[in-house]
Assembly symmetry: C4
Homo-oligomer: 218 residues x 4
């Protein structure tokens, strides 16, 4: 896709995207799977296990929100690399910052599941969690805008595709910022909003609509 020859000065900092993809897929997959280590099973006591399992619902919600967020980040990341013709030294570092915030997500997820008893602790947990989601979402946008700015995106992608991705990534930043504010007042309302954001972005309304339109048109 890149037509830079060996004498092109840009060539020096061009890199294949294969290892960036493989390393990123590894971190995405491990961060998503390590979350299960926090799903503790109740100890065998005189109390009914089914009640104890049900009482753990905030743990399951936290698990589901984190998995959905990582899944959604992976979807966006895979579309970005689909459009990339090549990587450069700075893009790899920005991607590394994204992976840092992804790999740390199990920590605030664990806080979220544990600190629901105390109102003050809960607020801290939900705020730290929201900041982590904002950082993930923010660095995905940064990676994408940097790639556009440095023309690392292949020319065979239509302008419409590129705009569609941009218009999908950027609004989520605003959503996260708003919900962090809500979380300071009503922590668990914010968590439910994070779930809604992740599911809303995962469920491909746009693709479904486009598909429906295409079917009618043909």
């Amino acid at each position: 896709m890149s037509n830079a020859g060996p004498d092109d000065p840009r060539r020096r900092i061009s890199l294949r995207t294969t290892r960036m993809e493989a390393f990123s897929d590894g971190i995405f997959a491990i961060a998503a799977t390590l979350l299960v280590l926090d799903l503790m099973i109740p100890a065998v006591t005189s109390k009914d296990v089914s009640h104890q399992l049900v009482e753990q619902w905030p743990t399951y919600v936290a698990y589901l929100v984190s998995f959905a967020t990582i899944g959604n980040a992976w979807l966006n990341h895979s579309v970005i690399t689909e459009y990339l013709a090549r990587a450069d030294a700075i893009l790899l570092r920005l991607n590394l910052a994204l992976l840092f915030f992804l790999s740390v997500l199990p920590f605030p997820t664990h806080m979220l599941a544990e600190y629901r008893s105390n109102q003050g602790d809960e607020r801290i947990a939900v705020t730290v969690y929201g900041l982590n989601l904002l950082a993930i979402s923010g660095f995905i946008s940064i990676v994408w805008h940097y790639a556009l700015w440095q023309r690392l995106v292949g020319r065979d992608n239509s302008d419409e595709d590129v705009r569609a991705l941009t218009s999908k990534l950027d609004p989520s930043l605003v959503s996260y910022a708003v919900v962090i504010g809500i979380g300071l007042l009503r922590p668990w309302i914010a968590v439910l909003f994070y779930l809604v954001i992740a599911l809303f972005m995962i469920i491909p309304f746009r693709a479904v609509l486009r598909e429906a339109r295409r079917r009618r048109g043909s």
Copy 2:
């Protein structure tokens, strides 16, 4: 394989399958390997260690069933992606739902190993475990049928191959549903059935037979 040109409306939602494969392989591999963290070794006590190791047999059975189920799911998934010419936005999301149920499997596996002392707890554990296996198996079928419906399967695959895979995936759903029912009455009988289902699907009777027939024919 897809001959959609840049002006084809379908092109917009076509994606390579490489990252979907890499991310899925990561989740499959980690889910399969994290199971070992539940194989706890007995503490050094006055009691003979060999007896304690033998007493842990339900833990080993649970480990083996889960590993075999993940291995079998991976085999089916890799055949599906072998046939896929391209992915679309919805297929990636259906695949994500499959990966969700795969990555959560260590949780009911752990319940299965722990709750064998109490009859009521055991029934809950075996049922939750069965529902998880059913969800994995169900989403593999959904991914496959969606790919067929949307013609994401490459045209160079013979109809016979496609039918063979369909006739392998769908019956397992019925088996899991039946065994979940059995598990409500006889929990450990159900676990042994899950092992039988996984091993039956892993051992390639069909391939062995076809190979035998080919040898006689040639």
Copy 3:
């Protein structure tokens, strides 16, 4: 490499080896890295930490032997897949059995590190560990011989290369069987032998010699 056309009956069971490689690499990498979770640091007590760290030497030896064994298994596996032109349904299953024994290795490694105080427990731990190494080594040989038997190996590999790999894989089975016997009498001698076997196979004497000969010859 495979010149089987679409009408060749063998084609039906031919699969690319990419996903088998990716899934295997995932399991190898995770099994090797999970071992570090067993390197427990001593608690902060009145006792000098440096002494406690030194006293933990059997844990480090167990870690090193397991990492070297997994590394060596990976080397052999990667040479096998280098030679493979394609996979079939049975090869994938044999490979899955190999991955099962790889992913379970952290369990006997943990036993090895813990059960050094009691002579009887130690013997059990070393024997289980040896059987696990034998199973890994055995299934690598089985995968290789199956691939040779079914002519899944590309024809552009010289017979000499193929013989060299066979003559490297098979003797290790005998070594492991002998050392399991030694372990019944002198457990820790066996562990040191396992380290020697792994390092002996990792250090590429053959390649060094061939390189030296080539240099003299040219």
Copy 4:
């Protein structure tokens, strides 16, 4: 890139680099992500959680330094494999030694986070940690120099590129050796230096400067 034909004696020990890359990416990704398991959340006590979280700052510093070091090692490793035309038996083993020291890094990272209360223990932890970083950095240099020496580097890479990478890898060895010395006197100063080294190498000053110069020149 390699133009060695089937009769070239060098061909026998030539291997594709794909599996070496996949296995390495797996270990890099898992080692980076497992670090999160050491970020323990404070127990719910009467004490304010926010204070306890702040008191854990050495754990966060250790996490950040290790993640940045692994990220930086990955960047260098991916540039090396970008330049590699092929691998040989010895290169794979040297790479395995590098992966060994990478996968063990969570252990001294954990020591670093735990042993800050006692001056003597802290010195041991910081020294072991520094030696681990030195080993990682050293084996990356060894892999690179071996590849250069054995002419495994593709000929289409300019001499300038190759020299630029060499001049980036080797000085870090000296830095680590000096900081290990500092750590014997002032442990936490050394940890901050390790952070500075990792960030300095991650932030692509060279690429930024070159880009700026290119923009002025064009």
